[in-house]
Symmetry: C2
Subunit: 312 residues, 2 copies
């Protein structure tokens, strides 16, 4: 029975699992700390892969997921922000060389989108848009059953779409990106700015507030906190409207911590989306839903990538 | 030798041509007035197709291009603005029934993009973005050698991407679309607005000025006219930056009358694109160029659509 090995390299943990392609559940799985700033990362990665390697030794392919930017065509990490030792690093080629098995790499958001399409909320759909709304905004796009990667492998970076050229700075340094309006830090930053301008609120201006605390204040009726999520949802609706005009998917899937606040974000999002879509037909039969796979999305996406590359 | 029949239904002319799939030049071609507001359009369409029909009678497929909105999956025209008699009209099914040959439909901008990819400026590229900048802004997208159509067949409507939610109204009635900043009418409208506010210019505030006249004034050094194209180019750069982040193409092809003004539009466009792309890698090896096929793009696109559907 052919085995796929999947690896999810996260900020804090490296996870590996081996899969029989007939079943969703892994045969074996293992996780270890990533320790990105310490040397020996490659040895640790090889070790965690070896721990899930099948007894018969027969592995068809290895799928690898990591935060970007990276090049899925060459398998190189370019400049992962949390991993200073792995800049311009031949991750997939090294793994391929060590194990003598084909290895494929893509970024965590693309792979989470691919996983939701194959195994999660998007099963049965052919055109899917995936968003993770969290510390940043990551996205993955499936078009006619294929993962959108692009010429340089940098497609579907939709957290960095420009939704208002005069908007606030994004984590990447550019202005007015969707992420600079609708991510967790953007919500907090907006609250702090308004507090500084003297807006009244139950939230304290001490620089340590979290998106969750803003959500809690909103549930208690705090007007500023409600407005902060409204603004995030409005811009998310503007961004997704443009993306419907671009990709015309049949499903939009939301994952990530910020998306878990529910109606606080998604009521204004839905209003904004309806307001900004320029033809009602885009919304006919469109499913807007929550991600299903949670923490397993990274591993299942790496697995799906390997399976996809084996059977194009 | 298999023959493809291609039809381009424009606002003023219906054109038809028959192609041997081995050669770029048509075997026969013919054009007649569209006369969209007069009854009998279907008869005229059938007649022009019959005039290019091959002597041996063997046609593999018919490709049809028309202004949208339309549904390429069903072959129905939905609500073409210039053709009030063909709303919700089964164009491809009617043609298929009459000729007993498979018929495929898509919109003019998608097909011009497909034609440039197959036969024109985009030959050899696999990921292409096509823009026609004219009375409106139409776009077509090729991803990994496939035409992007979307779930409802409404993908790649990128003239209607939102580049500034507080921007001016678009022809579609919604605000802040790329078309409302960078199309020909948008350039004229900006000039008229500035003239009304008292800005000095050699251009006369008589409501009849054209984008070409604005370009001529700009070439004579008229500051307002230069600024009008600068603004159009800047927003075009913002829009294309977001689309690089979305699609990551290897080539962007510009057609349409407004794009023929050259550096007046494309110098500010290039500056804006460089300024707004959030990672320099998107620009590595990226080709930005002019369309090659001119008036033949519609016919060649309809031909390419039929060939694509025959050999998926």
């Amino acid at each position: 029975m052919p085995t796929i090995v999947a690896v999810d390299i996260g900020g804090t943990q490296m996870r590996a699992a081996s899969y029989n392609t007939e079943r969703l559940e892994p045969i074996k799985q293992k996780k270890i700390p990533t320790l990105a700033s310490e040397p020996g990362g490659m040895d640790r990665l090889i070790q965690v892969i070896e721990e899930v390697w099948p007894k018969d030794g027969i592995v068809e392919a290895i799928g690898l997921g990591s935060p970007g930017p990276l090049d899925p065509h060459t398998g190189y990490l370019l400049a992962p922000p949390n991993n200073p030792l792995w800049h311009n690093f031949p991750l997939a080629p090294n793994i391929m060389k060590h194990f003598g098995v084909k290895a494929y790499l893509d970024n965590d958001a693309n792979l989470a989108g691919l996983a939701e399409y194959r195994f999660g909320a998007g099963k049965g759909h052919h055109n899917l848009l995936y968003f993770t709304v969290s510390t940043g905004i990551g996205t993955g796009v499936i078009i006619e059953d294929r993962l959108l990667q692009g010429y340089h492998g940098l497609a579907a970076e939709l957290g960095h779409m420009i939704v208002d050229p005069n908007g606030p700075p994004c984590s990447c340094g550019f202005n007015g990106h969707l992420e600079s309006f609708s991510s967790g830090p953007a919500i907090v930053k907006y609250v702090l700015g308004e507090l500084e301008s003297g807006t009244r609120s139950s939230l304290k201006r001490d620089g340590t507030i979290t998106p969750r605390e803003v959500a809690e204040a909103a549930h208690q009726g705090d007007v500023l906190a409600i407005k902060a999520y409204q603004r995030a949802g409005e811009y998310l609706g503007i961004g997704v409207a443009t993306l419907l005009h671009a990709f015309d998917p049949s499903i939009v899937v939301f994952g990530g911590g910020v998306s878990q606040v529910g109606s606080l974000l998604f009521d204004p999002f839905n209003d904004s989306l309806k307001k900004h879509v320029f033809h009602p037909r885009y919304l006919e039969g469109l499913v807007i839903t929550r991600a299903k796979l949670g923490d397993d999305a990274g591993l299942l996406g790496a697995r799906a990538l390997a399976e996809m590359k084996l059977k194009p």
